[in-house]
Each structure stands twice: as structure tokens, then as C-alpha cells.
């Protein structure tokens, strides 16, 4: 029996246990492209309008987020630009989520040991996972590319773009496969994957704004360098992600050979033999379990927001350099002021929406960990103590809320400080941080949603993620797609105000969202008091 015996069997098992999630990701991403395509092709239905897109407000500034997309005067280029944010995060997250699930998670639960005892080679599970998920990435890329064609984009460009999307996914399949061999827990694999996504995204953003070579060290940058819809389109950068993918997978196989099943390469350390008084309280234990997670998210938010903030001056310069806009704004210090009002404030608001998305994602991850408390039997033991169910949930909620505040606070300060330093104007620090507070009710709604689902039907807690995904896509794509404002108001992140820095928040929406969030929280407490533990 060779180490690769049973790859087919393992692929079959992985497909049977995971096809729903797999399909949801592929269909979800292609659907976003279809949505983008149908709105954009209706909005920009003439060459003149398309030409206007390239010259429109903030096109250059948005390079920080979307990269420098070639061919912005073609429909394909516009679509690629609008899809940029989804691509930047959703595609790597898809690769990380699926690869972790089929490698480290399987090992962590001990299921893999069971299989390896049967006629399955040691390398087969890893090979099967990589094969299956890499195929899924290629299918996703092909689907995204194919979805562009019916709207009238150049088919060759769409093919190039689709392959570039697949390439970005492949890189992160490789990253995750290798990371899963180094650390022992799925959570740590996630941490490594997300951190590298962020680094790659930031490098591309800075590189794009400065038009420097930095884009070449970022897999995100390689997508742009294909210039799928540009006049100078080229195929060869598509080889870069494939080479990196192959190298990372080979590295994963080598690393796998050097460790035991269930173990990692990094050995854990010893720990203190007694629990401190603080750790013995509900609140202390809940904080202990969350603190590394909070630190990771806060670090990520700080890095992302600091980079965005420190690019503020460059964004203003880019706008002033734009011949049409520059003329419109005039010259001199007043022009800078007007540019700041016109471009910078909405830009900062967009960054704050991103920060709120990060906070909400953290909240959902943290609330999801309650489900693990229940599945592991720890909740049962905790509730066999003289402690009411609310006495368990309350401290946990408090910790998650505090964690979200830390992530948001650190992120907003980093954004504000970065902008203030870049523009040489301290007022921005207060302005940005203050405006960021307007997003808190939106985050509260997701905390409430997570808690309510945990209290009533924990089995479907994933619905909270579905709601988040819809809200996130609408928040990011909605304004550009010219969607009706009642639809935009359905996403809490825009309902609080579409430009919170420039125009301030919508007090009525803040009130409604706060009340909604609190009602959902209360529902969570009521539900948990009434239901069976573990849930039936």
C-alpha cells in the first residue's frame, strides 16, 4: 500500500460529506457576478457611459481597495473592478474554509484516524482535499468568467479573468494545506490563512496606489497584472499562482511526512497547574477563551485600517491629478479641501463600513464558538453548577461585545490616526473615530442575530453567516450598482448612513437597529432558558 492509496475513496468521502458547502460557495460567488453584471450592464449601456466610469469620482482612489484594474472603459473591466472586493476576500476565505475543513478539522475530530486505520494511505487525505478544493476553485473561476460573457464582455478577457480568479483561490488552497501541517488546530490554520490574505491585499493596495513593483509580491496583484480586459492583456502572469500552488502543495506533503497524525510541527508548551481566581469566574473563563481571537482580529483590523488611513494624502493627490476632476476642483489649498470633502469623506466612510464588516465577522465567529462549548459537553458541565443559563450567557455576550469594541476601536483609531498623520490634520482622528461609532448598532444586530439563533435553533446558526454575506455584498456593491435605496437600507451597514464621515449618521436608523439588536439579544436569553442542552 503506497502513501497515496485511496485518494479516490477519500475524494468520494470528502465530496459526500461536504458537497453542500462546496456548492454553496461556488454558486454564491457566481451569483454575485451575475448580480453585478446585470446591474452594471443596465447602468453603463453605451460606450460614452463606460468611458465616464473610468473618469468618475474616486476611480483612482479605489485602487487601494480594488487594485489597478485594466480596461476600465470596457464592460469587462468595470465588472472586474466592481467584483474586486468580493474577489479579494471571498475567494481566499472560500479556499481557507474548505481546505481547513477537509484537512485539519478532520484530524482534530479524530475521524481521520479511523480512516487511516483502513486501507487509506497517509498522503491520501491531503491529496484528496487539495484535488477536490482546487477543482472547486477552477470551477468557480470558470463560472465567474462565464457569467460575464452573456452581458457582452470580451470572451477571451472573461476567460483570462476567470482563470485569474481561480489562480488566487489556488494560492490560498496551497497556503492553507501547508499551514494545516504546521499547527495543530483548525483555528490557528484559519488565523494564518486570514493574516496572509490581509498582507497580500494590503501589499496590492499600496502597490496599486503607488504604481510600484509591490503588486508583484502579492497574489492579489497577479490578478490585476493579467490585465484581463486591457489592450495590453497577457496570459503569462497566470502561471505565477499555479507555480506557487504547486510549490506550497509539495511543501505540505513534505511537512506532512515529518509529523504524526493529529500532531503538528510546533509542540505546545506547559501551562500553570492551578487556575487563578479570575479564571474560575464565568467572565474570566469566557475572556480567556476569546482573548487570542480578539487579539488576532484587532491586529488584522489595525493593520488594514492603518494602511488605508496613511494613504489618505495619496488618495487626494490621485484625485487632483485626474485631469477632469482636477479642473473641476481648481488648484491650491482650497482645492485640497474640496477634494477632501468630496472624495476623502466618502472614502473614509467606505473604510468604516469595511471595519464594521470585520467587527461583525468577529462577532459571528465568537458566537459560533458557543456552539462548540455545547458540542464538547462543556456547556453541560457549566450548567450543572449553581448558575442559571442567563448567568452563563450574560458573561459570554459581554466578552464578545467587548471584543467587538476592541476590534472596532483599534481599527477606527488606526484609520483616523493614519489619515491624520498622512494629511497633517489632527481633526481627522476625532472625525473618523466619532463617525465610526455610528456603525455600532449595525454590529449589534449581528450579535443579536447570533445570540437569538443560539438560544432557539443552534443547528441553523449558519443562517447568521448567510445574512451577513448578503448584507456585506449589498453594502459593498450596492451603491455602485445603483440599487434602489430601500434595498440598500436593508443592509444595516448602509442604513446607519451612506457617508457617515461626510454626512453623518441617520438617527432614526440608529435607533431602529439598536432596538432590533436588543430585542434579538433578549430573545437569545429567553430561548436558552427554555431549550434542552444539548439541543435536540
Amino acid at each position: 500500500m503506497s502513501a497515496a492509496t485511496g485518494v479516490g475513496t477519500m475524494t468520494g468521502i470528502a465530496l459526500r460529506t461536504g458537497w453542500r458547502t462546496l456548492l454553496a460557495w461556488v454558486v454564491g460567488l457566481v451569483a454575485v457576478m451575475v448580480l453585478t453584471g446585470s446591474s452594471i450592464s443596465a447602468l453603463y449601456d453605451t460606450p460614452e457611459k463606460l468611458a465616464g466610469y473610468a473618469a468618475s469620482l474616486g476611480g483612482d482612489a479605489l485602487a487601494v481597495i480594488n487594485g489597478r484594474v485594466a480596461g476600465l472603459d470596457t464592460l469587462g473591466g468595470v465588472l472586474a473592478n466592481e467584483f474586486g472586493f468580493v474577489l479579494s476576500f471571498a475567494v481566499p476565505v472560500m479556499a481557507i474554509a474548505l481546505t481547513t475543513r477537509h484537512t485539519r478539522r478532520e484530524e482534530e475530530t479524530g475521524r481521520l484516524e479511523l480512516l487511516l486505520a483502513a486501507r487509506i494511505g497517509r498522503d491520501a487525505p491531503l491529496a484528496a482535499a487539495v484535488l477536490l478544493i482546487s477543482t472547486a476553485m477552477v470551477v468557480t473561476g470558470a463560472g465567474v468568467g462565464a457569467a460575464m460573457v452573456p452581458f457582452g464582455t470580451d470572451p477571451a478577457g472573461a476567460l483570462r479573468y476567470g482563470l485569474a480568479v481561480a489562480g488566487l483561490g489556488l494560492v490560498f488552497v496551497g497556503v492553507t494545506a501547508a499551514a494545516a501541517q504546521v499547527v495543530e488546530h483548525a483555528r490557528a490554520v484559519w488565523g494564518i490563512g486570514l493574516a496572509l490574505t490581509l498582507v497580500s491585499f494590503l501589499l496590492r493596495g499600496v502597490g496599486a496606489l503607488r504604481e510600484g513593483a509591490l503588486v508583484w509580491v502579492s497574489p492579489h496583484g497577479w490578478v490585476d497584472e493579467v490585465r484581463a480586459f486591457g489592450e495590453d492583456a497577457r496570459w503569462w502572469p497566470l502561471a505565477l499562482p499555479v507555480v506557487l500552488w504547486a510549490g506550497l502543495v509539495a511543501l505540505a506533503v513534505v511537512l506532512r511526512g515529518r509529523r504524526d497524525v493529529g500532531g503538528g510541527l510546533l509542540r505546545p508548551r506547559r501551562a500553570p497547574p492551578r487556575a487563578s481566581a479570575a479564571l474560575q469566574t464565568s467572565l474570566g473563563l469566557a475572556w480567556r477563551q476569546q482573548r487570542t481571537v480578539v487579539a488576532g482580529w484587532a491586529l488584522g483590523a489595525a493593520a488594514l485600517m492603518a494602511v488605508f488611513g496613511s494613504l489618505a494624502q495619496e488618495i487626494v493627490d490621485a484625485v487632483l491629478d485626474n485631469p477632469e476632476l482636477g479642473g473641476f476642483l481648481g488648484a491650491g489649498p482650497e482645492a485640497e479641501g474640496r477634494a477632501a470633502d468630496l472624495v476623502l469623506a466618502p472614502m473614509m466612510s467606505t473604510f468604516l463600513v469595511m471595519l464594521a464588516l470585520l467587527m461583525s465577522a468577529y462577532v459571528l465567529v465568537a458566537v459560533g464558538s458557543w456552539r462548540r462549548e455545547e458540542g464538547s459537553g462543556r456547556l453541560e458541565v457549566a450548567l450543572s453548577a449553581p448558575r442559571s443559563r442567563s448567568g452563563w450567557l450574560g458573561p459570554r455576550l459581554l466578552v464578545v461585545a467587548l471584543g467587538a469594541l476592541v476590534v472596532g476601536g483599534v481599527g477606527a483609531l488606526a484609520l483616523g490616526a493614519g489619515a491624520a498623520a498622512s494629511l497633517g490634520d489632527d481633526a481627522w482622528l476625532g472625525e473618523v473615530t466619532g463617525a465610526g461609532a455610528a456603525q455600532l448598532p449595525a454590529v449589534l444586530v449581528f450579535l443579536g442575530l447570533g445570540a437569538a439563533l443560539f438560544g432557539w435553533i443552534p443547528r441553523v446558526q449558519a443562517l447568521a453567516w448567510a445574512a451577513f454575506a448578503v448584507a456585506a455584498v449589498l453594502a459593498y456593491l450596492g451603491p455602485g450598482l445603483g440599487l434602489p435605496s430601500w434595498l440598500l437600507d436593508l443592509t444595516p451597514f448602509l442604513a446607519v448612513g451612506q457617508d457617515v464621515v461626510g454626512q453623518g449618521p441617520q438617527p432614526a436608523a440608529l435607533a431602529v437597529l439598536t432596538v432590533l439588536g436588543l430585542v434579538l439579544l433578549a430573545a437569545g436569553f429567553v430561548g436558552l432558558r427554555r431549550r434542552d442542552v444539548p439541543a435536540g
Binding site: Q280, V381, A382, S384
Partner: protein, 309 residues
């Protein structure tokens, strides 16, 4: 007759369904103060569900359950200060050390006796500085046990507490439970390890498919079960149609010496031995039913109480 204040657990006609599955279907259980009560049944019989109802984790659909004289659901918080619970398969906090887990769990169970805690860590041979994620299954189980046994709870509820323990540790566990019983602690012990139940339990309840099949002391249970008899006699004994005697098989050689195999109910032993004596006993063994036989018969759907009538 015991008064109900001496009855720490009192369950009658308990029902619980999960969707289409009836996990409990009219279950009865009574645990008296000061006893170790063995709680047995095949996989999926409803042992863990019963325990969860008792701890107010799961709400029953019908029947009554009383814990320490209170309502396990409504009075959960007050009752839990007097109870310690060890679930069968708890995953500890992976990032914390074994010692930290013990402190956190013990704090949940009630007041910790520090000297007892130290003693138990020593006897169970635990390294409290190892992280829980690096423990073997047996060591994880020991952490849960130490945490519960170190408290001064009135009632210990143990759900398959020794799965994964090696024989040496199993022995330690039994000693500790005996000591606790001497001190007056009551124990409800769900287990699949028959030897452990035999060694510890004053009374047992056997359940199957959510219903109590039999309950009583082990002697009681034995009393309702046939012993195996093997004998060699000079002549063929007259055993036919003797009440309380069954499964008779006889093999005789040329000289008329007869080998006899039969099963006998406890109250017919005298009659049977008399008949064998009349036939001239050479050798005689009477083997009481092993506990395994007893459980296997009960698990397989043999209601001993009905049978004994």
C-alpha cells in the same frame, strides 16, 4: 419504608421524545441517601437522557422527576450546589492545563476540599501542568473525575465515568468512591463496566428502550435468576417435571453412572439436591448466575421479574 427526604432521586413514569425518537418511555428510578446506585442499560437506552433531565439540562415531556426533593428544571440553580456531575465524554478546554481545568470544573461542582484535591491528583497520577489538548482520553477523564470527587457534593452523578481508564486507575476510582460512600455521599453511577458496578453498587436499575426493566440489590436480582447445576450421580435421578428445574440433560454410561446438567431457581435448589442425593452424588457444582449473564439477559429483553413469577 424510607421517607422521601431520604430519597435523593425520585423518578416515575418519565417521558422524553426527540422528534420521532422516544428516548424515555415511562422510566422509574429511585436513589436512596447513602447508596451507590448502579444505572445500567444498552447503548441508547436513555441513561444519559435521564441524567440530563435530573440536572435540569433537558426538560421532560411527561412523568415526574425530583432531585433532592426539588424540581430539577425549576429549582436547578439551588439544587446544583449540592450535586457534582461527570459527563461521559467532555472535551476539556484545550488551551488550559489539567490543573486549571480541575479548578474550573470543581468550582462549578461546589466547594472544593483542598487536601482531597491534592490527594486525588496524586492518586490518579495526573500531571496538572500538561495542556488538556495533549492529554490522552483516559487522562481527560481523570481530570473530570478529580474535579467532581474533590468536592463535598451530597450527590455524585457519574455518567460512564471510567471509560478509557486503565485497570490500575479503575481500582483507584473504586477505592475513592467507596471512601466517599463511607462519608455518606450518594452516588448515581451509569456504567457499562459490569465488574465496577458489581464491586460498588448497593442497588442497580437496569433500563432498556427508555423503560426500567428491573431494579433492586444484586442479591435480589440473583435471587430471580437460575443457577447452573452440574453433577455426576450413580443412577439416573428423578428430575422430570420437578417445579423450578429446567434445561435438564442427562448422559448415562454403561454402568448407569449419569452426568446431569440442569438449571434451577433459587427456591428449588433444596428439592433438586435432595433428588440428586437420592441418586447417589459423586460430584456436584452449583454455579450462581454471573453478573454478565444477568445483564445480558436483561439487555436482550428478558424481564427477570416476570420470569421469576
Amino acid at each position: 419504608m424510607t421517607t422521601s427526604s431520604d430519597r435523593l432521586v425520585e423518578i416515575s413514569g418519565l417521558r422524553k421524545t426527540f422528534g420521532p425518537v422516544a428516548a424515555l418511555d415511562g422510566l422509574d428510578l429511585a436513589v436512596e441517601r447513602g447508596e451507590v446506585h448502579g444505572f445500567l442499560g444498552p447503548n441508547g437506552a436513555g441513561k444519559s437522557t435521564t441524567i440530563r433531565v435530573l440536572l435540569g439540562l433537558v426538560r421532560a415531556d411527561g412523568g415526574t422527576a425530583r432531585l433532592l426533593g426539588g424540581d430539577p428544571w425549576a429549582d436547578a440553580v439551588e439544587l446544583h450546589s449540592r450535586v457534582a456531575y461527570v459527563p461521559g465524554d467532555v472535551t476539556l478546554w484545550p488551551g488550559l492545563s489539567g490543573g486549571q481545568c480541575i479548578d474550573i470544573l470543581a468550582r462549578a461542582h461546589g466547594r472544593v476540599d483542598e487536601s482531597r484535591r491534592a490527594d486525588l491528583v496524586e492518586r490518579f497520577d495526573l500531571d496538572p501542568t500538561r495542556r488538556a489538548r495533549d492529554y490522552s482520553k483516559g487522562n481527560r477523564q481523570k481530570v473530570s473525575l478529580v474535579a467532581a470527587l474533590a468536592t463535598d457534593a451530597e450527590l455524585l452523578v457519574l455518567d460512564e465515568p471510567t471509560s478509557g481508564l486503565d485497570p490500575l486507575m479503575e481500582e483507584v476510582f473504586q477505592q475513592v468512591v467507596r471512601e466517599r460512600r463511607e462519608q455518606g455521599t450518594t452516588v448515581l453511577l451509569s456504567s457499562h463496566i459490569l465488574g465496577e458496578v458489581e464491586a460498588l453498587a448497593d442497588r442497580v436499575s437496569i433500563i432498556r428502550a427508555g423503560r426500567t426493566v428491573t431494579t433492586g440489590t444484586l442479591t435480589d436480582l440473583r435471587r430471580h435468576t437460575r443457577s447452573a447445576v452440574r453433577a455426576v450421580t450413580d443412577r439416573a435421578p428423578a428430575l422430570h417435571d420437578m417445579p423450578g428445574v429446567g434445561d435438564v440433560e442427562t448422559v448415562a454410561d454403561e454402568q448407569g453412572r449419569t452426568e446431569v446438567v440442569a438449571s434451577v431457581e433459587p427456591d428449588a435448589v433444596g428439592r433438586l439436591v435432595g433428588a440428586l442425593h437420592d441418586a447417589g452424588i459423586h460430584t456436584l457444582t452449583v454455579t450462581p448466575p454471573s453478573l454478565d449473564d444477568l445483564f445480558l439477559r436483561a439487555y436482550a429483553g428478558h424481564d427477570e421479574r416476570v420470569d421469576a413469577r
